[in-house]
Subunit: 341 residues, 2 copies
DNA sequence: ATGAAAGCGCTAACAG
DNA sequence: CTGTTAGCGCTTTCAT
């Protein structure tokens, strides 16, 4: 058993450093905070003492004294369908990485939406989408906490929003299908109470309209983003007498499920059915036919949100919130084919 | 634009509450900390004042004064293959939820292993596996920080470990295959530098040995847990002159990939090949044939880790670390068949 | 360029 | 049962 010796937990304070360096604690504080006014000689003495004592300032004392906190709360709705997505993981990864860079502490807050969240000691908040928890955002804003909302674009709220152009991405995807000669194009949507799913559906409709294709209600299948419902939707879709030749699916995870169902039904992809997904989930690369999909810049969105929050937290004055809509990119792979001849 | 009025950020302190309630700040502090000794009448006055002033204590002042912190750092190696797994998400979810319950703040720390982590202001640490970052664990221990390691069972370290019986689970899985009459059983392993993958491989070997089946090197395929490598492994496996009739795959995600490859090769599951996975990833439920797998109690592991950490953080004395190995459960679905007849 | 001293908001002896 | 008082470790005027 490797028993590691604990260092005597006697915390070394700024005072110890000052004594060892032979200066006042004020000077030490100045060195810590990189004040330019400290004489080089003293700076070196202090730095030496800090190293020798292995001193590191107490963040609690710092925060008490300054009244500032650099803790960022990431609020994620603990909403099954959403939580289990590629999306959340990418977001956490992107945000976590950038918080590291900016020396921000990342506090994770999984919320069940109805409860109010404890914002004590928090310097800024990132809301990963707003799903039934708008009151939490408003509470943060009311407290004067710098807040940014991601994946949700709302002009009517006084917070920065960094979102993805879901409608635009969807429109491109469907346009692409049309350009391949498809006219009977179905859509399997996600949970329409999320802005992302609603936007994708809207883009689908917009593209049809612009191409003078009439939207058919029997070609639209609403799901909760789960593979289970995607499967059911696909089965129903395939049963249609006048089955579509192409389908735009609101997420890659669901698109993969649709591919499975289609193959089980003995139909070929893209021979009998062309499919476009949404996400650019790496899973889409495997399988017999690589999935054509809409890539959304999740990492970029995550990074932008931290940058923006950092800006909000750093600058003194009330800044105008920033509203950003990030563009998507159509990634053409193998799951769609040119129709007719 | 809904501009939310900010509350004047003048922080209300314990002193304001004391004044309004007509008691000393000590009494207010006692009420906050639920000391039983406060007279009911005063308690109510204080509570009233707190409500009226919307007072909530500064956690920084509390922590400065007590020298204690209830911030839990969750350290996750930012290791591609591992990070993108079902495992991490489940863990975060479980830990996040339980931290809520115990009123612990969850700080997320994605680490690249080589760097040292900043533990200032942290009350306890949970290491999500140890992959090349053992020095970080040792640093935490040296500081006297309560620490628990999950998914890694190490007798030789002075921290609590909550892990999963990977070897046992794997052994059961392979035994099951043997009981169905299989003798040519392959294994597609995960990244053997992780304890989990190594344990699963060991369980595989143990089961073969106990059943007097000789291990064949050409039946063992080592991967990094990625679907890409799983695909390659499966292709090679299928090419074997003396191809196996069953395969135990170290993760469900990889098992699904193996299923795809197998079907693409025109072989039937479980007709031509029986497959057992590991994880009980819900994705395994969909697709034409539900995947037989080994369920690991991830949420339970997550919860136990928080409970244990909370115990460590709460109790005063040096407590003996706890070593727990959680059992797995074989979930029999449709991907294996009885051999011979 | 540096230091003395007054807090930041709370807890914890120690009296009473 | 309650109040007084001294810190916790750092930042920040205000002098010097």
């Amino acid at each position: 058993m490797v028993r590691i010796k604990k260092t005597p937990s006697k915390t070394v304070s700024i005072e110890d450093v000052a004594r060892l360096a032979g200066v006042s604690i004020t000077t030490v504080s100045r060195v810590i905070n990189k004040f330019p006014s400290v004489k080089e000689k003293n700076r070196l003495k202090v730095l030496g003492a800090i190293k020798e004592l292995k001193f590191s300032p107490s963040i609690f004392a710092q925060r008490l004294a300054t009244g500032k906190s650099n803790v960022v709360a990431l609020v994620i709705p603990r909403y099954e369908g959403v939580f289990y997505s590629f999306y959340v993981l990418e977001l956490i990864r992107g945000i976590g990485t950038l918080c590291d860079v900016f020396k921000l502490d990342l506090l994770l807050h999984l919320t069940d939406a109805r409860s109010g969240l404890d914002l004590r000691g928090i310097g800024g908040v990132i809301f990963a989408d707003i799903i039934g928890n708008r009151h939490q955002l408003e509470a943060a804003l009311k407290q004067g906490l710098p807040s940014v909302v991601i994946n949700n674009y709302a002009e009517d709220i006084d917070a920065s929003c960094i979102a993805i152009d879901n409608a635009g991405g969807a429109e491109n995807a469907v346009n692409y299908l049309v350009s391949l000669g498809h006219k009977r194009i179905a859509h399997i949507s996600g949970d329409l109470s999320t802005q992302a799913a609603a936007g994708r559906y809207e883009g689908y409709r917009r593209a049809l309209k612009k191409n003078n294709i009439k939207e058919r209600q029997d070609y639209v299948f609403k799901t909760d983003y789960s593979r289970g419902q995607a499967r059911a939707a696909a089965e129903n879709m395939l049963k249609l007498a006048d089955a579509p030749t192409a389908v735009f699916v609101a997420s890659d995870a669901m698109a993969l499920e649709v591919m499975s169902v289609t193959r089980e039904a003995g139909r070929d992809i893209p021979g009998d059915l062309s499919i476009v997904g949404f996400d650019d989930n790496p899973s889409g690369l495997y399988g017999p036919v690589a999935l054509t999909t809409v890539r959304q810049p999740l990492i970029k969105m995550a990074e932008e949100s931290v940058k923006e929050l950092n800006r909000l937290m750093t600058l003194k004055k009330n800044i105008t919130p920033k509203k950003v809509l990030l563009p998507t990119e159509l990634i053409i792979r193998e799951s769609c084919r040119q129709l007719g001849g």
